[in-house]
């Protein structure tokens, strides 16, 4: 990376890393994973700096890398990987004492890309078009992922029976 680009990257990291870490935490639900995800995304951004469109503020690029890294890493696991029956202690930062937030564990149950859409729309306050640009998908996909994500959250919060939830999650015969 050339000297001027290095200075721009450094300035970007200093300026945006607090917000990006919060986003990473909302994507992963775990502080340790969030730090690792942020560092990994910044590493990839640093290594592929020439592909960044807006070098003054590559936030969109980093967001996209965080989401795709999160989704792609999970997607490429194979059956030989050990599957634990026990929930790891730090897998999900659940509600703190006295916290009645039922939304947080419900959010943790969503698939990573669906969760990412909700985080970008309702935490980052991105528009549907901006969210689609970050994720590299269509606006229609953002709409459907957001709609289905909210439906699942609503269902879990109202403690619907399992089969009803599945029917809601996998509607057949969509045009």
């Amino acid at each position: 990376m050339a000297g001027r680009d290095d200075e721009r990257f450094r300035a970007f990291v200093l300026r945006r890393s607090p917000d990006l870490l919060r986003t990473a935490y909302l994507l992963t639900g775990d502080r340790g994973h969030a730090e690792d995800l942020l560092q990994t995304a910044l590493m990839k951004t640093y290594r592929h700096w020439e592909r960044v469109e807006n070098k003054e503020d590559p936030g969109a690029f980093v967001h996209r890398v965080m989401v795709t890294t999160q989704v792609t890493t999970w997607r490429r696991r194979r059956v030989q990987e050990r599957i634990t029956d026990q929930v790891p202690d730090a897998a999900q930062d659940t509600a703190t004492p006295g916290d009645q937030d039922e939304m947080w564990p419900a959010l943790a149950q969503l698939p990573p890309r669906m969760r990412a859409v909700l985080v970008l729309r309702y935490w980052e306050d991105l528009s549907e078009a901006e969210t689609a640009h970050v994720l590299g998908c269509s606006v229609g996909t953002v709409k459907s992922q957001a709609s289905r994500g909210l439906a699942r959250l609503r269902s879990r919060l109202s403690r619907q029976p399992q089969n009803t939830e599945q029917a809601d999650a996998f509607p057949k015969g969509l045009a």
């Binding site: 194979r78 999900q92 057949k172």
Partner: protein, 453 residues
């Protein structure tokens, strides 16, 4: 805004506010970049030692031996050929690109400038490329650099990790912005052939056809307008094939260039009429990834059908799902895949492929007896704690006979589906109709190792 949206927004804000400000992320990122480069050089050395080459006499080696007969390492021998490629005559460009740092800080690899050489330089796929080698820790090491078309040598950046230069040929590909570029850099006179993906014919037989490509001075460059994950290379030197089936490693693609896969809607439509419960679409995609990422098919070429999805494994865990899917290939052959995935605490479902069978054209999945052996683990070690056979019988199945089980003639508890815990003596399964007539039978092997074709 609905109450759910308001609750969601409040929850996200509350949890985000709890996140402490990070430390010096910039320095951490740089250190990880350097450590990552180091680890990959070590891994590349191990990988190079494991390469299997076909009939490689000493005379076909591109590199001179750097050890004497007593095994004593001498000075690193330079790359034996001058720069090649369209920019090989641009001395200013070459002089600049060899000076591009291979890293930053005290841990970066810094081959001495007088050991560095440009092996290849040219434009391809809308970008400018160079392959540069240098001496690192007594070994000739190479790295690819790239930049926009027309870029100055000094502005190129590293594209992969420095790795030992192979004695046969350098094979590298990179996919970005919708274009994959393949480089094969061998010796003068080398002939290069490429197989873009395996061929699965109408009988279900897998083969690879290698197509000769133009190689100028032993260098072949191919540009593709999409990701080619199943790409393989063959290099012939004289009458000897020195490298066949050489992969190009993991394709490097930018976040916006994700390989095409089936959408949730496509999975849902494919599951119409399927037995069991609605399939987890992400799990289905993972099981099907063999077809797209290993066999190189495009999604649009395949006719997908979900045969069955349902619970497998520990009955107390309702979130472990098994799956059988079929895909009709362009040749008419039928591919059937099976797998299972267990949902983890984060809501993900890591999945692998336990079964892959290829059938000739004309085969109907409804007539097949499918037997999938799956291992389940509890994280305490590499030994599976449970193993299960999941059997899907052909249409009309009323019962199954599992050879080697203490109890035979197992009644299928769910029509055409049977789940049993096999012992070491289980050798086969028969499906019978209501009259007891055998409809189909299949041998039972070990858990299938589904690799790349």
């Amino acid at each position: 805004m609905t109450s759910t949206e308001e609750q969601l927004r409040a929850s996200l804000r509350r949890h985000a506010d709890d996140v402490a400000t990070p430390g010096d992320v910039y320095d951490v990122v740089l250190r990880r970049c350097r450590r990552s480069r180091r680890r990959r050089v070590v891994a590349a050395v191990a990988g190079a030692c494991a390469l299997v080459l076909i009939a490689v006499p000493a005379t076909t080696s591109l590199l001179h031996a750097d050890r004497d007969r007593d095994g004593v390492a001498g000075p690193v021998q330079p790359y034996p050929l001058p720069p090649r490629g369209p920019l090989a005559a641009d001395d200013d460009f070459l002089a600049a690109v060899v000076r591009v740092p291979w890293g930053r800080g005290p841990d970066a690899l810094k081959p001495a400038l007088d050991t560095r050489q440009v092996v290849y330089a040219g434009d391809a796929g809308g970008r400018r490329w160079a392959f540069v080698v240098g001496a690192v820790d007594g070994q000739l090491t190479g790295v690819w650099l790239a930049g926009p078309a027309g870029a100055a040598g000094a502005s190129l950046t590293l594209q992969n990790e420095p790795h030992p230069v192979r004695s046969d040929a350098e094979v590298y590909s990179e996919y970005a912005d919708g274009t994959e570029v393949l480089f094969v850099v061998g010796a003068l006179g080398d002939q290069v052939a490429v197989s873009e993906r395996p061929d699965i014919d109408a009988t279900g037989t897998v083969s690879r056809e290698y197509r000769p490509v133009n190689a100028v001075d032993g260098v072949a460059v191919q540009v593709y307008d999409q990701w080619r994950p199943a790409l393989r290379v063959r290099v012939d030197r004289g009458s000897t094939t020195i490298c066949q089936g050489c992969g190009t490693g993991s394709a490097s693609f930018s976040p916006e260039d994700q390989p095409q896969t089936w959408t949730d809607q496509q999975i849902s439509v494919a599951a119409e009429g399927a037995l069991g419960t609605p399939p987890d679409p992400e799990m289905a995609r993972q099981v099907l990834s063999w077809l797209t990422e290993r066999a190189g098919y495009d999604v649009d070429e395949l006719e997908l059908s979900v045969l069955w999805a349902g619970p497998v494994g520990d009955p107390s865990r309702s979130d472990t799902q098994g799956l059988f899917v079929s895909a009709r290939l362009p040749s008419g052959a039928l591919a059937v895949l099976g797998g299972h995935g267990q949902r983890d605490a984060e809501g993900n479902r890591p999945t692998g492929t336990d079964l892959l069978q290829l059938y000739p054209a004309g085969t109907s999945a409804q007539d097949l007896l499918l037997v999938m052996r799956s291992n389940f683990y509890d994280g305490s070690g590499p030994t599976p704690v449970n193993q299960e056979l999941t059997v899907l019988g052909p249409v009309g199945s009323a019962s199954f006979t599992v050879s080697g089980l203490a109890a035979t003639d197992e009644q299928s508890p769910d029509g055409r589906i049977l789940r049993v815990h096999p012992g070491a003596d289980v050798t086969g399964v028969q499906a019978r109709d209501a009259a007891g007539t055998v409809l189909a039978e299949e041998p039972v092997g070990d858990v299938q190792d589904v690799g790349a074709p």
